[in-house]
């Protein structure tokens, strides 16, 4: 399959079941909502070392938020419910409770109910109060800028993490430009995040390493400077590869985001140095979700 001069490999991305949640963060203005959300989703690129993968899904208008203030929605994914609950509580406590004017609300109505601000209330040292409206409990914690307002619970659902595709280009600037175009298109798709810096990862990994202590190491088959040393996947004209990793609330969401991203890359086409699209997998043995590139782009 070739789209606008870009070859689509006959391969698939292999993704895993994860647990996901959404938090709506509001503040006095969008600047401070972003500040809280950026802090909350910091150091959350990969579950390998960060515990969770998190990112900002989109901005919210005042009409979309529970308290009528501007906000952003944050998605957070982990490999299990216990680690997700722990990370959510930690990040809420250090990044949202501390951020001026910020408030936090549930972003998923269904699913399993997990603590959002339930335990943060104890920061109030006995002066905290709760209110119930519309069947939901909120906590008011007195803080130095006024009151920190948070919903007690949010929803946790079964989700999909690790959807991906690789952009193979003739140069590093062209690979990055294609990645940026893909991310711009994918950020319009709801229910997904691309957790790596700027949505793009340049250090794709393979499972295992020659060093016993490491579980993952550089994906040498896609490293352009190792073409002559390893069993390379790259043809001579490929000089740079960028990967985009996708976490979504469902496999359909990941599929939509993959389609949006690859379409944007293909719109740039071979004329802009993009030569191939590929994907990372483990032979289909580890992850239950397989996203076949040609099937998605058909």
């Amino acid at each position: 399959m070739i789209i606008n001069g870009v070859a689509i490999d006959d391969t698939f991305a292999e993704a895993f079941g994860m647990r996901g949640t959404r938090v709506l963060i509001t503040a006095q203005n969008l600047k401070w909502a972003h500040t809280a959300a950026t802090a909350m989703t910091g150091f959350a690129t990969s579950v390998i070392a960060c515990g969770v993968e998190a990112g900002i899904e989109r901005e919210l208008s005042p009409e979309e938020t529970p308290d009528g203030r501007p906000g952003v929605s944050v998605l957070m994914f982990a490999m299990g419910s216990a680690v997700l609950m722990k990370q959510l509580e930690t990040r809420m406590g250090q990044c949202v409770l501390t951020c001026p004017t910020a408030a936090a609300f549930s972003g998923i109505e269904g699913g399993d109910r997990i603590n959002l601000g339930k335990n943060l209330r104890f920061f109030g040292d006995g002066f905290q109060t709760s209110k119930q409206f519309g069947g939901k409990r909120y906590w008011r914690v007195p803080v130095m800028d006024g009151e920190f307002l948070t919903e007690e619970k949010t929803g946790m659902v079964r989700a999909v993490g690790g959807g991906n595709f690789l952009i193979l280009a003739e140069s590093q600037p062209q690979a990055l430009a294609a990645g940026e175009a893909a991310i711009e298109a994918m950020r319009k798709v709801p229910n997904v995040i691309m957790p790596f810096p700027g949505g793009i990862v340049r250090s794709g990994s393979k499972v295992g390493s020659k060093y016993k202590t490491l579980n993952a190491s550089t994906n040498d088959a896609f490293c352009p400077t190792l073409k002559g040393l390893t069993k390379t996947e790259l043809s001579p004209e490929i000089e740079s590869v960028m990967e985009i990793v996708i976490d979504g609330l469902s496999d359909a969401d990941v599929r939509k985001a993959t389609h949006a991203g690859i379409s944007a890359v293909c719109d740039l086409g071979a004329a802009n140095g993009v030569r191939r699209i590929s994907a990372g997998n483990y032979g289909g043995k580890l992850g239950p979700f397989h996203f076949h590139l040609r099937e998605i782009m058909a």
Binding site: P66, D67, R69, T129, K131, F133, Y138, G146, E147, L149
Partner: protein, 268 residues
């Protein structure tokens, strides 16, 4: 099907316990069965058809016509359905009601909404003393649901109230929110003496400056973000409270003689 309509023939000599006449209790009963239900009246019992003209057949909606202040326990313990009262009601209106709606066009007696845990009680008129309060011997008053009073409420509104929302568009009597455990009470008119006496937790929204006891303390003017959530929950209510939008209030906290976590929010 038309609503089951119970038209009071004449004002009874004794108080009547109307608690058997709820949509849940009448479900599946025929007209003859309903007419034969015994109602307690003092030490006697009277058949429903001795007190009321009975018409209609839809027991999910019960209409009381010619209501009077001798009709106690209307809507007591009801779970679902709707009761409409044209005229006054006696004491214990909506007593321990768990769900459904009661809409009254008239005045309610004492202890309306006592022990209520869910649903709506809308009184287009005045409520007596101890609205949403605990009856003697109970440890908690209203514990959920919503009460709207378009007129005035008597003394001790919300005494030992545990949860839920009471919105009074008129005035409230003395000791409003006394010994309140939690929940929200709003009074658009004036309040009598000493609102919040013995208040443990909960929120009392006032629009006119109250005469407070010394153990309720002024915490200053504040813009409270949670009020936006509360107003949003009021937005669709058939009440003047649906139009609130002011988040800047003066906050009083207390009663310090009883834990002190209650608050009175005064709208200027």
């Amino acid at each position: 099907m038309t609503a089951l309509t119970l038209t009071l023939k004449k004002i009874p000599q004794q108080r009547i316990d109307c608690s058997p006449l709820t949509p849940d209790a009448l479900a599946g009963k025929s007209a003859a069965d309903i007419a034969a239900i015994p109602l307690q009246s003092g030490k006697n019992t009277l058949r429903v058809d001795a007190l009321f003209d009975v018409s209609g057949d839809d027991v999910a909606e019960i209409v009381f016509m010619n209501g009077c202040d001798k009709l106690d326990y209307i809507g007591a313990a009801m779970h679902s359905g709707r009761i409409i009262i044209h005229g006054d009601a006696g004491c214990y209106l909506g007593f321990r009601k768990k769900g459904g709606e009661i809409v009254q066009h008239g005045n309610a007696g004492n202890f309306a909404a006592s022990g209520m845990t869910g649903g709506l009680l809308h009184i287009h008129g005045n409520a007596g003393d101890f609205l949403a309060a605990a009856i003697p011997g109970d440890r908690k008053g209203m514990a959920g649901g919503l009460v709207i009073v378009t007129g005035n409420a008597g003394d001790r509104t919300g005494d030992q109230m545990r949860r839920g929302i009471v919105l009074i568009e008129g005035n409230a009597g003395d000791y409003c929110a006394s010994r309140m455990i939690a929940g929200t009470i709003g009074v658009m008119g004036a309040t009598g003496d000493y609102p919040g006496y013995g208040m443990k937790r909960g929120t009392l929204l006032l629009f006119k400056p109250p005469r407070l006891i010394a153990t309720i303390q002024d915490c200053g003017m504040h813009t409270l973000p949670f009020l936006k959530l509360m107003y949003k929950s009021f937005r669709d209510l058939p009440s003047k409270f649906a139009h609130l939008d002011q988040t800047r209030v003066r906050r009083y906290a207390g009663d310090l003689a009883n834990d002190g976590k209650g608050e009175i929010l005064l709208f200027s």
